[in-house]
């Protein structure tokens, strides 16, 4: 039996400081099928001069930590008669998680870091403690098969990151839960304030694709639940 304590609101991921920077946290969750299906998307955003590079180990992120950084994390879970879908990265309904990056001002804001850019398929076990400065979700999840795919349109304008967390044959009795994390460093033309000169919008989301193991009690054999953010940084002009 999986027990989850969903991250709902945390001030900062570890490694960030509010000194001379703008930093914040947005979160959205979506539950469907009478709360049996759940997805959550979190993003920490950061703007300012902190340090040129560094690692946020609890987000599995190493990269640029100045100008803008958008750190994204998500979680999907299923209970009762539902499991996570099993068709992997090429699931015709879509994989477990998709982050679609669309930057609205090509050439003025660049994607400079994606992290992690690739994780080898295989057993993926995660255990993250809960604390005010932790970025992960609680719980420990063993997923027998992880598939990831990052495609980025160069130079810099858009990207798509997919992650498939597959239950495999072990979900006969329903109930599954996973999390993913992905982070991105951005860089835009500077201005005199701690804000970009030009307005841009960043988009990210997470999708749970689920299947029902109790066909007679579920409304539908397959169900997708999704949540995310468009996040617009208004430029100073």
């Amino acid at each position: 039996l999986l027990s989850l304590f969903h991250v709902y609101s945390q001030p900062l991921p570890a490694g960030f400081s509010a000194y001379q920077i703008q930093v914040g946290f947005n979160t959205i969750s979506n539950s469907a099928q009478n709360s049996q299906l759940y997805v959550q998307y979190n993003e920490w955003w950061y703007r300012g001069q902190y340090q040129d590079s560094g690692c946020l180990t609890n987000l599995n992120y190493c990269g640029k930590l100045s100008d803008e950084a958008v750190l994204m994390q998500g979680e999907i879970s299923a209970t009762a008669n539902w499991c996570e879908d099993t068709f992997g990265i090429n699931d015709p309904n879509g994989p477990s998680m998709v982050v679609n990056g669309r930057l609205s001002n090509p050439g003025k804001t660049d994607i400079v870091t994606n992290s992690p850019s690739y994780i080898s398929p295989g057993t993926f076990t995660v255990s993250v403690g809960v604390g005010l400065n932790d970025a992960g979700v609680s719980g420990s999840y063993s997923v027998p098969n992880v598939q990831e795919e990052l495609s980025q349109v160069m130079p810099y304008t858009s990207f798509q990151f997919k992650q498939a967390l597959n239950t495999g044959p072990g979900c006969n009795g329903g109930q599954s839960a996973y999390y993913w994390d992905f982070a991105q460093g951005l860089e835009s033309i500077a201005s005199s304030s701690p804000w970009p000169r030009d307005t841009f919008t960043h988009f990210g989301d997470t999708t749970g694709h689920f299947w029902c193991v109790g066909v007679l009690v579920c409304d539908s054999g397959r169900y997708a639940v999704e949540a995310g953010f468009y996040f617009t940084f208004q430029g100073t002009g």
């Binding site: 979160t27 999704e226 617009t232």
Partner: protein, 184 residues
């Protein structure tokens, strides 16, 4: 006899021609009708259902799409306050085909150095789903939350903006995946 037959044939041809013209005209108007009614969003000009002391105003911005909103007075709204809202609905959605009432619970708000941190919960009865959102919003940071509604490509969008020193403008609307943020 021949002349009578000719008159009959000419008369018959005229009637046929008239019928043909009427049919073409009818088909043309039908085609125009289909074109005119192709796609119009559903919306209310007063999307707040009920009277609440913390609602300063409400309405719908309509361009090609429709974006329903309300303006909330932060000094008058408190944690736990609820209100009912009828978000605008784009056309041709499979999950949502009519205006539906949703329940919004104001969880909390705090004014911080980064902006206004606010949390709200939306219960969507027609899809038996709940959306929780917690964001920081300021003049320079506008988050637009997106959550699926149903299983066939419909989404609810939630976009708070700073409206004045003591007011937040909150857009809530339903549309397809590609709809994106409301106009700033």
């Amino acid at each position: 006899m021949k002349r009578a037959n000719s008159r009959f044939i000419i008369g018959l041809s005229s009637v046929s021609l008239c019928i043909l013209l009427i049919f073409i005209l009818w088909a043309f108007t039908q085609a125009r009708g289909i074109s005119n009614s192709a796609c119009s969003p559903l919306y209310s000009n007063s999307p707040v259902a009920g009277n609440y002391p913390f609602v300063a105003n409400s309405g719908t911005v309509v361009n090609t799409n429709a974006y329903s909103y309300l303006i909330i007075n932060l000094s008058r709204i408190h944690a736990g306050d609820k209100f009912y809202f009828v978000p605008s609905v784009e056309c041709n959605l499979k999950d949502v085909k009519s205006l539906e009432k949703i329940e919004v619970t104001w969880m909390t708000h705090n004014v911080t150095s980064e902006g206004v941190a606010l949390s709200l919960r939306i219960h969507i009865p027609f899809s038996t789903s709940n959306v929780n959102m917690s964001v920081i919003v300021s003049q320079r940071m506008i988050p637009t939350g997106v959550a699926s509604v149903g299983n066939q490509g419909s989404y609810i969008y939630i976009q708070p903006e700073i409206y004045s020193q003591d007011e937040v403008k909150l857009y809530i609307y339903i549309g397809p995946y590609s709809m994106g943020p409301a106009p700033f």
